[in-house]
Symmetry: C2
């Protein structure tokens, strides 16, 4: 077997979509080119942007940082990073340390914010107190609030997250199946800039399949945190993920066609769904919120914090 | 176990969605009420309509005829039926005979049109000649053309087809997955009346799960043709059907939520996709067509007919 691009005999991957065989260098180049293509096509970056990377230390966020850094090296954008320490014993610290080392290696402004400092409680403590809601709901709400706040404090103009093709197609299909049209229009490569209170979010890895990101960090020898969270409980997402992967075996382009179809639907819908942007601010913390209390503060009150 | 409605101890079904147990009479009533509800909610019928039922003799079309007939008995609509005989040996004749008996029993104007009479060729003969396209493509195109023509000839104002909940959700998910947004907006309970050349199509069984239609014809002792076509080759549809059914086991309302979500998306899209309605007529047969030749005539020329 030979690399379909350069003829090198050290092939490391057969691309599922195109059927191409690629050697290590050509594979790395293909991923980086594709991310750059997404950035251009979706207009994810503007010259002069300061992009805050939500850096967990996992493969997706490390890859996001690594590839966006090429735009920084060309002086197109500036980059900073934030890592949220949820406070999960025997799990989170390794990811935080890895994030710190990457930020240092690249010389990037970096902030680590822990739930404990910010709210006086760790996820472990929340889960001991109360788990009728599910760890990921707390985690998601608090992390989002912390990242939004960090973006404002660090003067970021965009927030980049590591969502990959599989994450995105799973979310799209879940919302289709659940008939959850409100969430459906919130997906996409770039969040709406209409809600001026919130920094625009971008997903540079949105067209890269999960397994290729796994291979990319290995090929580039990037240190990443591979363990999975002890609280991970993604039943419906897991089911949807399994069935999309099963369809992909026989229909290798199906994740892409589903993504393209979604993008066309989203564009055609335009303002067809009435979107409600938060009009006021949370009484407790001052964050933008549609209700008297933002979601994070609602949880905190329930937790007696 | 007792019927959740009337207490009768002869329960014949546990409804997947609601968890209700129903006896035979309450089950029959529940199906008929639900179809009537769909008809009203989606405004499928107008007083004075003459509805042409596309009557294959299978469970879906026989149920459609049976339930729409209740509107005929109340003098709200008139009904006629058309059966297409594709010419499939050892298969089609039984369905045609059953269709003839139902039309006779109800005293309904009925027409049987064969591919052989109409185009001088049977599906069996087509499949011996040429099968690079696939039986169902020929069959679908010729059947649709014959039904549209019959509707005009019989003075029908609507065409009713037997599509059930499973058919509809499969088609929706297939189009989502394939990114086929043009076909996506053609689904729904009622076809657009903007293409004036075509009779409006309605799907009264769109909210009834396939297995409940199977049980309905048994409970009502309706004669139907249960065999499946020897050419049936629905690989991708079959895969999608399997995975939706698998999800349904754990999430019994998922077919409904996917249907509702689709309906909201379709409404929000509105005219967001440019739809092309046939502007001209087929040079060969005079049917409305976007191209010089309609699809049926394109196939016929390829087949040398
Ligand atoms: S799996 Fe859930 S609980 Fe664990 S880090 Fe992710 S969101 Fe938080
Ligand atoms: S399965 Fe295909 S070939 Fe057979 S009757 Fe149906 S559409 Fe025609
Ligand atoms: Zn190569
Ligand atoms: Zn708040
Ligand atoms: Zn009963
Ligand atoms: Zn024609």
């Amino acid at each position: 077997m030979q690399c379909s691009k350069c003829g090198n005999s050290q092939v490391i991957i057969k691309k599922q979509q195109s059927g191409q065989y690629l050697c290590k260098d050509c594979f790395i180049e293909s991923i980086e080119k594709k991310v750059i293509k997404t950035v251009k096509k979706e207009k994810l970056l503007d010259k002069g942007d300061k992009v805050l990377v939500a850096l967990s230390g996992g493969k997706d966020s490390v890859t996001t940082l690594e590839i966006l850094n090429s735009f920084r090296k060309m002086n197109i954008i500036d980059i900073c990073a934030v890592t949220v320490d949820e406070g999960i014993d025997n799990y989170r610290q390794e990811g935080v340390d890895i994030a710190i080392r990457h930020a240092k290696r690249l010389g990037i402004e970096h902030k680590v914010v822990s739930l404990k400092e910010e709210y006086g409680i760790t996820l472990d403590e929340i889960m001991q107190k109360d788990n009728h809601i599910g760890s990921c709901s707390y985690c998601g709400v608090f992390r989002r609030t912390i990242i939004n706040k960090a973006a404002r404090e660090m003067g970021a103009t965009k927030i980049a997250t590591g969502h990959n093709l599989d994450d995105e197609v799973q979310a799209i299909m879940m919302n289709y199946l659940e008939g959850n049209t409100d969430n459906l229009t919130k997906l996409g490569a770039k969040s709406s800039s209409k809600a001026k209170e919130f920094t625009v979010k971008i997903k540079p890895l949105r067209e890269i399949p999960e397994r290729e990101i796994g291979l990319y960090v290995v090929a580039k020898e990037l240190e990443v945190h591979f363990d999975s969270c002890p609280y991970a409980q993604q039943s419906f997402r897991g089911e949807v993920s399994d069935l999309i992967n099963k369809l992909s075996e026989k229909h290798p382009t199906i994740k892409y066609s589903a993504l393209r179809g979604y993008d066309k639907i989203k564009e055609a819908i335009g303002d067809g769904f009435k979107k409600t942007y938060p009009q006021s601010r949370c009484e407790r913390c001052g964050e933008p919120s549609a209700n008297r209390l933002c979601k994070a503060c609602t949880f905190l009150e329930e937790l007696g914090k």
